[in-house]
Point group: C2
Chain length 326, copies 2
C-alpha cells in the first residue's frame, strides 16, 4: 500500500458535464449558483462550461453568461471545454477568469470517434494538427493528451490496452512533432467500461511507456464499477481524478438514455479521506452542494452518498454520548 498518494486532486466537471446533458431548461442563475457553491468546498479545479454549438448542445447556449456571472474564488482554477476554433475564440474572451490550455483528445475506438466527433481517427488527427497551430498563435500551451473510450466502447466492444496506448501514442507523436511538451494524460472511460483490473492494466502500461506523464483518471460509474476502479487507481498512486458533484452528467453519445456518468466527487472524497488521503475538500460542504445540484436539476442524481450523508455527523453523536470528565 506504499504507492498510495498523500494527496488527491479532484478535477470537478459537474457543471460542464451535467448541464450539457440535463433536459432542463436550467437557468443561468442556477448554473452560476452551482459553480459558486463548488468554489466554497475546497475544490480547486472546476470545469465550468462548454463553448460548443448551441444548436448541438442547447444546455450551453448561455456559456458566456455563466462565465460572466460566476465569482472567481482565490486559489481555484476555472476551465472550459471547447473543440473548434470558434469555441477557442469564445474561451479566450474570458482569459481573465478561465485557465485556457490546449489538450489533444483522441478516441481509442474508431467507431466512437466517428459517432462522437463525426470523423475517423486519422481525420481527427489532421484536425488536431491544425488546432495545435491555432493554439500556438494564441500562446495557449498544449500540456495534456486525453484518450476517450480508453476502457471499452458501447459500439465496438472491448478496447485493449494496446489500442488505448496506440491512440495515446498518436497524440503524443503529434505533440512532439509540433514541439509541444505533454505533461498530463487523461484516461477516460467515456462509456462505463472501467473495472479495477482494466484500470490497473491500463495505468500500468501508460506508466511503463511514459514514466514522466502525470496520469488523470476520468471514470464513469455507468455499470457500478466507478468507485472500485478509482480505488484501484489510488492503490497504484494515481493522484488526479475527474469527477462530478452528485454524479451529474453522463455521455450524450454513449447510446444509453438515462445511464449514469462520472463518479460522484463526494464519493471519491469520502473514499480518499477514509484511506487517510488528503483532498483539501470539506466533504460535508460538498454533500450540501450535491443536494443543491439535485434540487436544481429537479430529479434524483446517481450519488448515493448525497442521500446518506457522510460519517462526520455519526461520529459527532458518538463523541457527544461519551462520558464526560467531571
Amino acid at each position: 500500500m506504499s504507492d498510495l498518494p498523500k494527496r488527491v486532486h479532484i478535477r470537478e466537471e459537474g457543471p460542464r458535464e451535467g448541464f450539457q446533458i440535463e433536459p432542463g431548461p436550467i437557468s443561468t442563475e442556477d448554473k452560476v449558483r452551482l459553480i459558486n457553491g463548488l468554489s466554497e468546498t475546497g475544490i480547486d479545479h472546476i470545469q465550468t462550461v462548454s463553448f460548443v454549438n448551441a444548436k448541438a448542445v442547447p444546455g450551453w447556449a448561455d456559456a458566456e453568461a455563466v462565465v460572466a456571472g460566476m465569482r472567481k474564488a482565490p486559489g481555484v482554477e476555472y476551465t472550459a471545454l471547447w473543440f473548434s476554433n470558434a469555441g477557442l475564440q469564445r474561451a479566450l474572451a474570458f482569459r481573465d477568469k478561465l485557465h485556457v490550455t490546449g489538450s489533444l483528445i483522441v478516441s481509442a475506438s474508431d467507431t466512437f470517434s466517428k459517432i462522437n466527433l463525426n470523423r475517423t481517427r486519422a481525420e481527427h488527427l489532421e484536425v488536431l494538427r491544425k488546432q495545435v497551430d491555432k493554439l500556438r498563435s494564441h500562446a495557449v500551451p498544449v500540456k495534456r493528451v486525453g484518450v476517450m473510450a480508453a476502457f471499452g466502447c458501447n459500439y465496438s466492444g472491448d478496447v485493449s490496452v494496446a489500442q488505448a496506448i496506440e491512440a495515446a501514442d498518436e497524440a503524443m507523436a503529434l505533440a512532439a512533432s509540433a514541439g509541444e511538451r505533454i505533461e498530463d494524460i487523461t484516461l477516460a472511460d467515456s462509456m462505463g467500461w472501467c473495472t479495477p483490473d482494466r484500470t490497473e492494466a491500463l495505468v500500468g502500461a501508460v506508466r511503463e511507456k511514459w514514466p514522466d506523464l502525470h496520469v488523470i483518471l476520468h471514470l464513469h460509474d455507468t455499470r457500478g464499477m466507478g468507485v472500485a476502479s478509482a480505488h484501484a487507481g489510488l492503490r497504484l498512486g494515481v493522484s488526479s481524478f475527474d469527477s462530478t458533484v452528485a454524479g451529474l452528467g453522463g455521455c450524450p453519445f454513449a447510446g444509453i438514455a438515462g445511464a449514469s456518468g462520472n463518479i460522484a466527487s463526494e464519493e471519491l472524497v469520502l473514499l480518499c479521506h477514509e484511506m487517510g488521503i488528503e483532498t483539501g475538500v470539506d466533504l460535508d460542504k460538498l454533500i450540501e452542494v450535491a443536494r443543491m445540484a439535485e434540487r436544481l436539476v429537479g430529479h434524483p442524481l446517481p450519488s448515493t452518498l448525497l442521500r446518506a450523508g457522510g460519517f462526520r455527523a455519526c461520529r459527532m453523536i458518538a463523541l457527544r454520548s461519551e462520558p464526560q470528565a467531571a
Copy 2:
C-alpha cells in the same frame, strides 16, 4: 492475485430485503413473480420472505401466501428470515419449500442492538440462548453466526475490528456451549460503513481468529463504497456475498430515509465475470429481473447497471461487424 476465488456464491436477498422496506403495497402475485424470475437466472440461494410481526413490517403480512405461491426450482435453496419463536413456527410450516436453518445474529454496536432489536447485547445473548434450545427441539441446525453493524454504526460511529470480533466471539461461545458447530460467519455492513480498507482489516482478523469459518460478506452501498469493498473481499478470496437484485432494500432501522441498501446482485456478478470468476448466473437474465423489480416497486432502484445493461450486447455488435471470411 492468487487469492481470487474460482467461483463466487451469490446469496440473493432482494425479495425479503426489498419488500420489507418498500412503501408499497406490492401484490402477493408480484412478489411471487420476482422470486420465480430470480429462480431462472442461475442464482441458487434466495431469501424469500420475512416471518415477522405484520404490524411492525406490514410489507410481509403476506409471507405465507408468497411462499405458498412461489415455484420451487430444482437446485435452488430458498430461505426465510425470522427472529422470534412465532416466526420460527411459521417458517417450519413450510419446511417442504424452505431451507430452515438457525443463525446467531448479534450486533457489534450496543446502540444499534437497542434500536434494531430493542435489547442490549447482553439481553440479546440471553434471548439467543433460549432460541438455540428451541431450534434444537425442532432439529434445526445452527450453522451460522452473523455480526450486524460490523463496519460502523450511524448511531455510535466507528466500530473497531476488535468490537466486531468481540461480538462474534460472544456468539461463537454461545454456540460452543450449546454444542453447535458454526460453519459460516456473516459480516454485515448494516448501515453503509464499509470501505475497502475496513473490509480487508475485518476479513483478515476473522480469518486469523477462526481460520475454518467460511466468511460471507453482506455489504451495503449506502455511501457508494459497496462494490469497491466487495472487490477488496474478492481479492482476499471471499467467495460468498449477500446482495439484492437491482439494489432492492436498505435498512429500515438505519435512520436514513431513502438511503440505498445492499449492493446490487447484477453489479457484483458483472464484477466477478470481468475478473474471470464464475458465478453460475446469467447476467443478462438477472438484469431483466432487476428491471422487473423496478417496474414492480414503481420507482427507480439504486443499481446503475440495470439502466446501462451489461457488456454482452456491445460485444455482440463488435463480433457482427468484424469482416467475415468469404
